[in-house]
């Protein structure tokens, strides 16, 4: 089905499994992205990917929009910036946007309404700057993978690859934020692609997109054509069939290139780099506009949403503010993320964070009531649906029996937690939850083991050292004794004690003399 131009191609590769849940995208992708008003209070969890961040400002301090308010020591964390100007009013426990519904340390900014910005530093003529400068700029801007994994972008971008793959599949039902971004900001996205191509020394770019987004495809095609008139660019659009989860990183790569990323390896092993559309837009904002990551596009949808659509929301905006501002009606359940991989929010004072791509305010009977899990009937449907070609049934049995070694043998860590298996399971077994449980248990055990091994080594080293010291001491004593004995023998009659005393006196004299010499 070639349209006769070389920008768009339809990929003929396939992946194993996958499902076709109802798309539910039309509710939110009709209207343009709107700005959501800034709330009176913004809340920033001092966490990045469950690892703590350290605040760099103090309570009572005035901050400006775009100013760094917290940073992380670990390589996997990214800077956090103030979303608007105001006073840091507290650092306190607050509900987190997390499946646990736990509370955690959050930094709260009370907005002053001025929305005054810290000086923005765009990188002038970015293509003449050294790569390191660009990477550092992206690092400072706190950009992390906005597709959901929130891995810091500057680390990913530091590798050199052949091909950039833009993940524009947006395969999960309901979510349309990337779709709208592509329709409205296509030329900005192309600029971002050029920047990333330069950064990664990549030669070509393929935008992987599902065929249910014809408007976005057209907008991108136009932007590419326009740009091609000015420079020589190899950017193509790879259209893949709509099938969940085509947007999984490894799945999209296989769909576009026919290649499988080897187990336990990153796409860079194949000379590929994958970035999500929203992340690319954030890179554009940081480098061209000098604007750190302080806002993102969030899809608001669900039957209870009176004004479903996409909103540009400052990070830190409490979700109930988003619902109030959009006149959302009382809902049955509120889900952050998509219906397949998201989680239910219990406390809506939790804020929008970098990973928040969608809020579903579900009406009655919209998201089916959780049904009782029944016994596994060994039908094997789950294995047919699994896009990672795993054996979900076996993984389930072993996770349930806490036989974690076996789950590892059955490649549990290749599971992308897409939920396709649970979706098809006729017994409604919460399969993904079992896998997540098993994964966290295994990680905890590994960590314990690492610590025990380190302690064992240190203890062994210490025991060895103590023994060596003891031996050395004994040896020294023996030698000294021998020396004295020899001395005594050569002098004939003088007994050992005398010799020792004489020795000591002589030493003391020498010392005194030395002291005198040095002081005079």
């Amino acid at each position: 089905m070639n349209r006769g131009n070389d920008i768009i191609f339809h990929s003929s590769y396939q992946i194993h499994g996958g499902i076709h849940p109802p798309e539910n995208k039309a509710q939110s992708n009709q209207s343009p992205i709107q700005d959501l008003p800034i709330p009176p209070q913004l809340v920033y969890p001092l966490l990045h990917n469950d690892r703590p961040l350290t605040p760099t400002v103090e309570v009572g301090e005035r901050v400006l929009a775009g100013q760094i308010i917290a940073d992380g020591k670990e390589a996997t964390s990214a800077n956090l910036h103030a979303g608007t100007s105001g006073i840091v009013s507290a650092i306190e426990e607050h509900s987190l946007p997390h499946p646990s519904s736990d509370k955690g340390q959050c930094l709260v900014i009370t907005a002053d309404g001025a929305d005054e910005w810290a000086p923005r530093s765009a990188l002038k003529s970015a293509f003449e700057q050294p790569r390191e400068a660009l990477l550092e700029h992206i690092n400072q801007a706190g950009i992390a993978g906005l597709g959901g994994a929130v891995f810091p972008s500057h680390i990913k971008l530091a590798s050199q690859v052949e091909t950039l793959i833009v993940n524009a599949a947006e395969c999960e039902p309901y979510i349309t934020c990337d779709d709208r971004l592509m329709r409205e900001q296509a030329s900005e996205l192309i600029t971002a692609i050029e920047l990333v191509l330069y950064l990664a020394s990549a030669k070509q770019c393929v935008i992987g997109i599902e065929d249910n987004k014809p408007e976005a495809i057209a907008a991108l095609e136009e932007a590419i054509q326009l740009r091609k008139k000015e420079t020589d660019l190899d950017i193509r659009i790879g259209v893949v069939p709509t099938r969940y989860p085509s947007g999984g990183e490894k799945q999209l790569i296989e769909l576009l290139t026919g290649q499988q990323v080897p187990q336990n390896q990153r796409p860079s092993a194949l000379g590929l780099l994958v970035h999500n559309v929203a992340t690319l837009y954030a890179i554009y904002q940081a480098i061209v506009l000098g604007q750190p990551l302080i806002s993102r596009v969030v899809t608001l949808t669900g039957d209870a949403a009176t004004k479903p659509g996409n909103y540009r929301v400052r990070l830190g905006t409490p979700i109930n503010w988003l619902l109030e501002q959009t006149d959302t009606q009382p809902y049955e359940r509120c889900v952050m993320g998509g219906p397949m991989m998201g989680f239910e929010l219990k406390d809506l004072s939790a804020p929008v964070v970098k990973a928040t791509n969608c809020i579903i305010a579900a009406g009655k009977n919209e998201l089916s009531e959780p049904s009782q899990a029944l016994a596994c009937i060994r039908c094997g449907e789950c294995a047919d649906a699994c896009p990672a070609s795993l054996l979900p049934q076996q993984l389930y049995w072993f996770s349930r029996a806490k036989d974690f070694e076996k789950t590892r043998d059955y490649n549990l860590f290749d599971c992308i937690e897409c939920g396709a298996c649970a979706w098809v399971c006729p017994s409604h077994i919460p399969l993904v939850q079992y896998y997540r449980f098993a994964k966290t248990e295994i990680r905890a055990q590994d960590e314990e083991k690492r610590k025990a091994d380190a302690a064992r080594k240190r203890h062994e080293f210490r025991t060895m050292r103590l023994e060596r010291d003891k031996k050395e001491r004994a040896e020294r004593h023996k030698k000294a004794a021998e020396k004295r004995k020899n001395a005594a023998q050569s002098k004939g009659e003088v007994d050992e004690k005398k010799a020792t005393v004489a020795d000591a006196i002589a030493r003391a004299r020498a010392k005194k003399k030395a002291a005198k010499d040095s002081s005079s």
Binding site: P21, P22, D50, P52, H98, P99, S100, D102, P173, R333, V335, P339, M340, G342, F343, E344, A362, L367, S368, E369, P370, S371, Q372, A373, R400, G419, A422, W423, H428, I429, P430, V432, Q433, Y434, R436, F437, K439, T440, E441, A444, E448, K451, A452, D453, A454, A455, R456, R458, H459, E460, F461, R462, T463
Partner: protein, 183 residues
Amino acid sequence: MSTFVAVVLLVLLAAACGALLGFAAIHFKVESDPVVEQIDAILPQTQCGQCGYPGCRPYAEAIANGDEINKCPPGGEAGVKALADLLGKDIVPLDESLEEAAPTVAYIREDECIGCTKCIQACPVDAILGAPKLMHTVIVDECTGCDLCVAPCPVDCIDMIPISDKGWSWPEPAQRIPVQQVV
């Protein structure tokens, strides 16, 4: 003729391999007892001595020689179970005189420390840094929480703090629970 050559070659090859294996068996012999190794791998390596032995390895050797498997509080019930599985013994409750405690880490109140180095001498895993007459600090990541440095300190400036932040982890699904699937 060629068969003969082949046979001779193969015999020579086999002899060479045999010699190599024999040599390796003598020269690379692993001294330690594999059972002790396996037991030691299960013990938590806190090196606290609560088992009555000066560290985990001596206790591992004692178990291999028939001592009870329920003397290690840091290992807890899970540790006893793992040992029972390994050795084919029955699971016994932890020795009553010992208590399974929450993991802790040592913290030295540095402004009170007089730098006597007593704690360094007591620490089984060299997790304390410091020099004579200077204040001492615990390397948190290396401290096993064994408690051994607390008693020797003449000014009582070492506290054992519970490790609270183990991070959140996914709970085990109840056997019959509402499905998380939300479409």
